[in-house]
């Protein structure tokens, strides 16, 4: 071709330097993104001419096993956009304050000459207070100096602590794993003050309650490389391409290695593209599909075929051989509690016999008491907490009987309930007669109960379904179709291929699951339904298996050492760690709008299941099941003074005084009078998160009750008809918060509505650490450049706030005071064996005994002049040892070793401490003292575990004993953390992390009642709520859910179920406001509608629409698409109300809100029970979660669009 000439004159190509100049840069620094995406990707930040110009992914991950694809490159479209923020017009450059507040403050300060007095005058003048509260979110920001900002903050800290007590200072910062030191900065400050940290994992509805229910574990899952080991993957509620962007390659790569993939999702989404089969189960009905899958598995592979691998696994690793009592109730036979060892003669004298359980030995037919139960964990003896087939009391080996089918005393007709169609069935269950002091008990096995629950006809008579085609009988393939819309053939083929794969590969089938499932009201049941299939086919604790739940970056790998620093436990304990869903439910007054849960929850009728959720919260707090701060309707510091006045001279006396006052009801828990001024939370720190928008379920209620500014809710208050214990105050409180302080690098909704905005260093400007459950590396955040403009790292900001507060305390709060801290009964403590039945001391059902029938009470001394001194030094309590998840180790020598590093030692009152003044010193303290990054400490932790379990475990750390990691090491190259008993996966020799491989291979028990994985949950409350057996419950109906009581669909509106899954163009709200993401999407977060619904509503693609219900309104444009099914709409989580939001026409021409404007919290009460095995509180581990998937909205076209 004549026109393609080679340019041979090199001169003509000299212009090529034009683009070469652009590429050239000066420096590359490793960092990552401290955002709750669970990605934890290592990035190279490029610096040119002193500014950050772009980022590219790091490629230097160490390889895992050769048979696995590498991790490189990790990083997505959102992460690679981050550099936009640094110099963007949305960057917070200087401290800012609300004009109306600073004016009032300056005026009062001029009058009084004293910051504290000025603050007091503002807070005690309702008009002045309401004036600046009304201005929240409405512009009028002023730039202030750092010193001025800190003065007001310090004054509010001291004023609030003095007047109301420190438990009125609260902080919300989510997901520490994403930037753990930045989190620790604020929490350390707050805990040293006596303030409160709000949990996040449960609040976000990221906590899968089924994990504590089944495994006694908050969450533990496989790293993404292990997906590749799986040979059959079911993916549901997780849109991998969209939300697991850096990991999804393992999924697609596994397909080319012979893995089958089935995707469940109501819409045809990004991950459906990778499916071999796409199964569009009706939204929220996945549980029904799995119930039927398990029906097929039990019938064909357990009963008919008795697949050896499945049977052996089920026997050893699950509670299925354990005995359960069958009781008579109202003339019917029903499954009851597990048979307690202490009840039978053979074991009547054993220690903690109420918390040890029984099997039957196949050979002798005798009762046996397997080790590993919670009783064995807490009976004060070592060596019996394991899953060996040994009677822990007699030492005799045994082989458990799984079913009494061939060896029973009689067959009883037991009642089972199917909640989907509200049907009751009597089904034959084989039982044995056991003689006890209370008479003869009839018992069966968990396995036999499941066979009956799932309707597997084994010739025992009763209402068993005759075939798969029987529609009315639970839980056949034909039955599930009623709820899912999926045909029975699909279920059968799925179940058979699944089982065949698991049988051939010894358990390499897995479920990848996410928020699309976990955010439903009945998420725990849907999860349990799927997990049943995994457990019955031996797919848990196996590489390539697992219930792989990825919702939120909850895995903070070095949690052992970090936990001490974040909670200030190196100086004093206990911390105040709050379960957030119940906190916001009560404090933001969402309870006032909630009807009785029993009207939208599906529960058997009884007193316990018929309570209003607010009353259940009060009960849970009283009984020590759940924490609640503020604690009392009185300042804690004053209560102590009163106690001392009344003669209390010791901590024990003070405790006794408090218990007496509670018993006589002279002192009340704040939770029962939440709307009295004394009970308000007052000062709120928000950092690393968007507490007022993307994290604000019931956002409009926050606007009203916390902030006292405008809101768009029209919901009506109805709870007065239902509550008994919680006091109803006819006037709804407005503006509970005195001050909201926000640390931020961008002007998001939380910043816009805060009183003080402090400029925070971004993720390319500070030192920090990051870990995730998606991979097994710990990454650094690093300063590619120093913090820009006047910004500072979170560590430095809280250090300076601590300093300003301690300085002010020297004049205003000079003497140490005593505080009392209420602590709920804790998981991984002897409290797990505290309450074998539900009794309420406040109703006179038992005595109030702290730590047993009620929460604990601990007296703590606080010296407010010393908060800063402690903040910057690592305290001596480290020498008491560290640990997490029930494991511990000694590390005094390593603490002292830190003092040898003379450049990092700090003196206080003549004593030396390791300095953690600088961020990097704190990072090194975490790495130096964690069993994940210090091999010797891992070894010590395994030694402790060996003693407890009587098993050999130390070989797991043998090769790592000399490993020590520090911050600079992590900057050089990604480092994989070490085997440690703190976590349940094994990483030896590049093996991919898969949860519970430690338990399965080493016979270390799960932290549950029996020590095994639980099919059966025998807590009294669970039985009363009808969730003791895996079951299906329908989603709450919109008519009774209470979010469309006032908003009525007029002519052109239509009701749809609104789904708010994680989106493609943001990580929650972060990145969503960047020009990059807005340009690649539609310039805002649209509402996705089906073509049919849009046509019905007269809506065309890109038309403006209002999405609203009683809670509030969101205005956006429509995205009409064939991939969306009729009846649902999608607003991807999470837009901000800061950009592109017009004024709502249905709510009086006021600025519309975000997606949380149409949400409100609905709690599931049985998730509040406590003091019982795995049902025992731990921060972010247990409690109801902030569900939001069952919400319905009205959609209508906007005729008028105004900004």
């Amino acid at each position: 071709m004549s026109w393609i000439k080679d340019l041979i004159s090199p001169k003509t190509r000299q212009w090529e330097e034009f683009y070469r100049n652009r590429w050239q840069h000066d420096k590359v620094v490793r960092s990552t993104h401290g955002v709750n995406c669970t990605g934890g990707c290592s990035w190279n930040i490029h610096v040119k001419d002193g500014i950050v110009v772009w980022e590219t992914q790091a490629l230097d991950y160490p390889l895992l096993e050769k048979s696995l694809p590498p991790y490189e490159p990790r990083g997505c479209q959102r992460g690679i956009s981050f550099s936009w923020y640094l110099y963007s017009p949305i960057r917070v450059k200087y401290p800012m304050i609300r004009g109306a507040l600073i004016d009032a403050f300056n005026e009062e300060k001029a009058k009084t000459g004293d910051a504290l007095k000025a603050w007091e005058n503002i807070q005690t003048n309702p008009e002045v207070r309401a004036r600046y509260q009304r201005a929240r979110g409405k512009g009028g920001f002023r730039r202030v100096s750092w010193d001025d900002a800190k003065e007001i903050i310090a004054a509010s800290n001291i004023y609030t602590t003095k007047k109301y007590g420190p438990d009125r200072l609260v902080g919300f910062s989510p997901i520490p794993a994403m930037s753990m030191l930045s989190y620790a900065a604020g929490s350390r400050f707050l805990q040293l003050m006596g303030g409160v940290n709000l949990s996040f994992y449960d609040w976000y509805c990221d906590l899968p309650n089924s994990f504590p229910e089944i495994w006694g574990e908050q969450t533990d899952v496989a790293e993404s490389a292990d997906w590749y080991n799986s040979k059959f993957i079911a993916c549901m509620g997780a849109n991998l391409g969209m939300t697991r962007t850096p990991d999804v390659h393992f999924f697609s790569e596994s397909r080319h290695n012979g893995t089958k993939t089935v995707v469940f999702s109501p819409d045809f989404n990004m991950v459906a593209k990778y499916a071999d089969k796409w199964v569009p189960v009706h939204a929220g009905q996945d549980g029904a599909f799995w119930m039927a899958v398990v029906h097929v598995i039990l019938k064909e592979y357990h009963y008919e075929k008795q697949t050896p691998y499945f049977i052996d696994y089920t026997k050893r690793y699950t509670d299925s051989p354990f005995l359960v009592e069958v009781n008579e109730e109202d003339g019917k036979l029903v499954p009851g509690r597990m048979l307690r060892a202490g009840k039978v003669k053979k074991y009547k004298d054993i220690e903690k016999g109420d918390w040890k359980f029984l099997n039957i030995d196949a050979e002798s037919g005798d009762l046996v008491c397997p080790g590993g139960s919670s009783g064995h964990r807490w009976d004060g003896k070592d060596g019996n907490w394991n899953m060996k087939f040994e009677d822990a009391e007699t030492g005799k080996p045994y082989d458990p009987v799984l079913t009494l089918l061939d060896n029973n005393d009689e067959v009883l007709q037991v009642e089972f309930v199917e909640y989907g169609q509200n049907k009751f069935a009597q089904r034959g269950v084989p039982v044995k007669h056991i003689k006890t002091a209370d008479g003869t008990l009839k018992v069966t096995t968990v396995y036999d109960l499941m066979m009956a629950q799932y309707g597997i006809d084994r010739g025992l008579g009763g209402d068993y379904p005759a075939s798969y085609e029987e529609k009315d009988a639970a839980y056949t393939p034909a039955w599930q179709e009623i709820f899912t819309g999926i045909g029975p053939e699909t279920v059968m083929q799925f179940a058979r291929e699944w089982s065949r794969t698991a049988e051939t590969t010894n358990g390499k089938c897995s479920i990848i699951i996410g928020a699309g499932i976990n955010h439903w009201y009945h998420n725990n049941l849907i999860y349990r339904a799927g997990t049943m299939a995994l457990m019955l086919t031996g797919c848990i604790g196996v590489n390539g298996g697992g219930m792989n739940h990825y919702v939120g970056q909850e895995k903070l790998a070095p949690s052992d050492s970090w936990g001490a620093i974040m909670s200030g436990k190196d100086w004093q304990a206990p911390p105040r760690l709050q379960q957030t869903p119940i906190w916001h439910y009560i404090n933001s007054d969402q309870w006032r709008y909630d009807g009785n849960q029993a009207d939208y929850n599906t529960v058997p009728k009884n007193d316990f299941s018929g309570m209003h959720s607010a009353d259940m919260v009060a009960k849970a707090v009283r009984n020590g099941w759940m924490p609640f701060y503020p604690q009392y309707n009185k300042n804690n510091l004053e209560i102590v003074k009163d106690a001392e006045k009344a003669g209390a001279s010791s901590d024990e006396d003070i405790k006794k005084y408090v218990v007496e006052k509670l018993k006589s009801k002279e002192l009340l828990h704040a939770v029962v009078e939440p709307d009295e001024e004394i009970s308000f939370p007052r000062v709120w720190y928000i950092w690393r998160g968007n507490a007022l928008m993307s994290s604000a379920k019931g956002h409009e209620f926050f606007m009203n009750h916390y902030l006292g500014t405008h809101h768009n809710s029209v919901a009506d208050e109805v709870a007065d008809q239902f509550v008994k214990d919680v006091k109803w105050r006819s006037e709804s409180p407005k503006g509970k918060m005195d001050l909201i302080v926000n640390l931020n690098f961008r002007m998001d909704t939380s910043a816009l509505y805060s009183d003080i905005v402090l400029p925070a260093a971004s993720w390319y400007e500070k030192t920090d650490l990051n870990s995730t459950d998606m991979h097994s590396f710990i990454h650094p955040l690093s300063a590619a450049i120093d913090p820009v403009w006047e910004s500072k790292s979170d560590w430095v900001i809280f250090r300076e706030i601590a300093k300003a507060t301690s300085e002010l305390a020297k004049t205003h709060f000079a003497k140490p005071v005593k505080d009392i801290v209420n602590v709920p009964i804790a998981h991984d403590s002897a409290g797990e064996v505290a309450q074998s039945e539900i009794k309420d001391w406040s109703k006179g059902e038992c005595e109030p005994i702290p730590g047993k029938t009620m929460h604990n009470i601990v007296v703590v001394e606080r010296d407010y002049t010393k908060v800063y001194d402690k903040f910057i030094r690592l305290g001596p309590n480290i020498k008491n040892g560290l640990g997490a998840h029930g494991n511990s180790y000694q590390c005094t020598d390593f603490y002292e070793q830190m003092l040898d590093d003379r450049n990092h030692v700090s003196k206080l009152d003549g004593k030396e401490y390791p300095s953690i003044y600088e961020d990097e010193e704190a990072a090194n303290a975490v790495l130096h003292l964690s069993s994940l990054t210090n091999g010797e400490l891992a070894h010590r932790a395994y030694k402790v575990a060996e003693k407890k379990t009587g098993l050999t475990l130390c070989d797991l750390s043998e090769g790592n004993k000399n490993v020590r990691m520090n911050y600079k090491d992590l900057q050089t190259k990604p480092h994989r953390y070490l085997n440690s008993p703190v976590w349940s996966g094994l990483l030896t020799d590049g093996r991919a992390y898969s949860a519970y491989t430690y338990n399965v291979e080493r016979l270390v028990p799960w932290r549950t009642l029996t020590g095994r994985q639980h099919f059966y949950l025998d807590h009294e409350g669970y039985i009363k709520f009808g969730e003791h057996l895996p079951t299906y419950k329908p989603s709450p109906k919109p008519e009774v859910y209470g979010e469309l009581r006032t908003s009525v669909a007029t002519g052109k509106a239509k009701m749809l179920n609104v789904l708010t899954p994680h989106g493609k163009w943001h990580i929650h709200s972060t990145y969503g406001d960047t020009l990059r993401m807005l340009t690649l999407s539609r310039g805002m977060e649209p509402c996705w509608l089906s073509e049919e619904d849009a046509a019905e509503l007269g809506i065309k693609d890109n038309d403006w629409v209002e999405v609203f219900n009683d809670n509030g309104v969101y205005c956006t444009r429509a995205c009409v698409s064939a991939r969306i099914p009729k009846g649902i709409c999608i607003v991807y989580h999470s837009p901000e109300r800061t950009y592109s939001i017009p004024k709502s026409q249905v709510r009086g021409n006021r600025r519309a809100g975000g997606h949380n404007s149409f949400t409100r919290i609905h709690l599931k009460p049985n998730l509040m029970v406590g003091g019982y095995g795995q049902f025992t509180y731990h921060f972010n581990y247990w409690g109801p979660v902030g569900v939001n998937r069952d919400t319905h909205v009205l959609i209508q076209k906007m005729d008028k669009v105004e900004f």
């Binding site: 071709m1 393609i4 190509r13 034009f18 070469r20 590429w23 110009v53 980022e55 590219t56 992914q57 490629l59 390889l63 694809p69 490159p73 997505c76 479209q77 690679i80 956009s81 949305i90 004009g99 979110g137 409405k138 009028g140 391409g241 962007t245 080319h256 012979g258 089958k260 995707v263 045809f268 459906a272 593209k273 796409w278 199964v279 569009p280 819309g485 999926i486 045909g487 053939e489 699909t490 065949r500 794969t501 405008h710 493609k1064 340009t1079 690649l1080 539609r1082 073509e1091 693609d1101 890109n1102 009409v1120 698409s1121 064939a1122 991939r1123 969306i1124 109300r1137 800061t1138 950009y1139 592109s1140 669009v1201």
Partner: protein
Amino acid sequence: MDIRSQIAMVFHLDKCIGCHTCSIACKNIWTDRKGAEYMWWNNVETKPGTGYPSKWEDQDIYKGGWEKKGGSIKLKGAGKFKGLKNMFHNPNMPVLDDYYEPWTYQYEHLFEAEEGDDQPVARPVSLITGEPITPKAGPNWDDDLGGSQEYARKDVNSRNLSAAEQEAMFQLERMSFHYLPRICNHCLNPACVAACPSGAIYKRGEDGIVLINQKKCRAWRMCVTACPYKKSYYNWNTGKSEKCLLCYPRVESGQAPACMHSCVGRIRYLGVLLYDADKIEAVASCNESDLVQKQLDIYLDPNDPMVIKMARANGIPESTLTSAQKSPVYKFVKKWGLALPLHPEFRTLPNLFYVPPLLPTMAFVENGTYETTSESFWGAIEKSRLPMKYLANLFSAGNEKTIETVLKKLMAVRLHRRNETVGDLPEKEVSDPMGEVKMDKETADAIFRLTSLPLFDDRFVIPAAHREEAMEMLESTADVKGNTGFGFKEPPERGM
């Protein structure tokens, strides 16, 4: 034989996530500046869809690429001479509405707004006029089938499908979509080069990268029309056209192009292909049905002694030959026949090849019940959701057999690996499909490894650039070492 060296690429669409990380990697480095806002040298499209710029594939509108005239070819739209006539009015050029009006937000307002009675908000404003706008189009407007009625249903590739087939493509239970990431194809027969009246566009001899000389460009914009892939963009600020440069500053220093480096789906491969430049004209003007095969024939076996000899004679460095022998692109394109050019009928002989996607098997709905079962473990290729004809319109100038063969090969590899790693399928269910596409186990394993397990260096085999040789043509390389980087940065001189 006139053997030349070309850096070519493979994008494995079965692995593509549609995440757009590639697009932003590129934008951050190259087009994050005034005049380049709307340029997406790398973009990702949802298919079915109309893409970016809208309906770019429809050459009835844009007149891009070549058309066969008798035994030869000519530019369909603006040629050098035709272009001159249309100098001030080129009716075949995409206009702002075919791209989009770039916008930003009044972010400052959030900081600066005076206290009012309602919340301030950052409104979208045009980056061109500064006036408030409501965005109506964007570079990825129909992502994931957004606005399917307006966009996906108007995809030119479904033009020759029956009405029933087209309707089925958008029935929820039977639908599907996939992604199509695109960059400049650095064609063997580039229409942009041919169309440029200024001679500003050239194909580099050493690696085949096609560049627009930013000093020489005179803003005729004939390249914009001529490129059938619409990968040349006019910079309204500098008055020059610009396009993907395959990150030559990175490639020259042994790094993968930014879009490929950042491809988190790990779908991208890059390596050298050797080709016979003498054949370009003949191949570009052959019959449409032969286009794919003839283009593949133009690429030569880098292990063939004759090819090596002729390549050396043509001055191709030894390092490039070694690189060609390791090229992953050669394997996918030639050895395994798994990757196909996009719209070969445009006749530019593109050097970016796509492995077409496997998609979920079909389902059916009867009385409101959805069933998706299959006779075999994964279901038959013929029962995948997108009509074969549709994929053929994208990648094989309409030849369905070509697409079907590729997909069956991919499936045979999966069956073989299932057999190796699980072994739960009946022997015949594995051996028959393997036999049908003549796949042996060794090849299947090699395909599997490069698809599933490749390390960075397996995916990107970048030939040495030998920059020192280019430098020494002008000055002493030792001097360059000391001098390089000195000088004053000057913005490009505007326009004509």
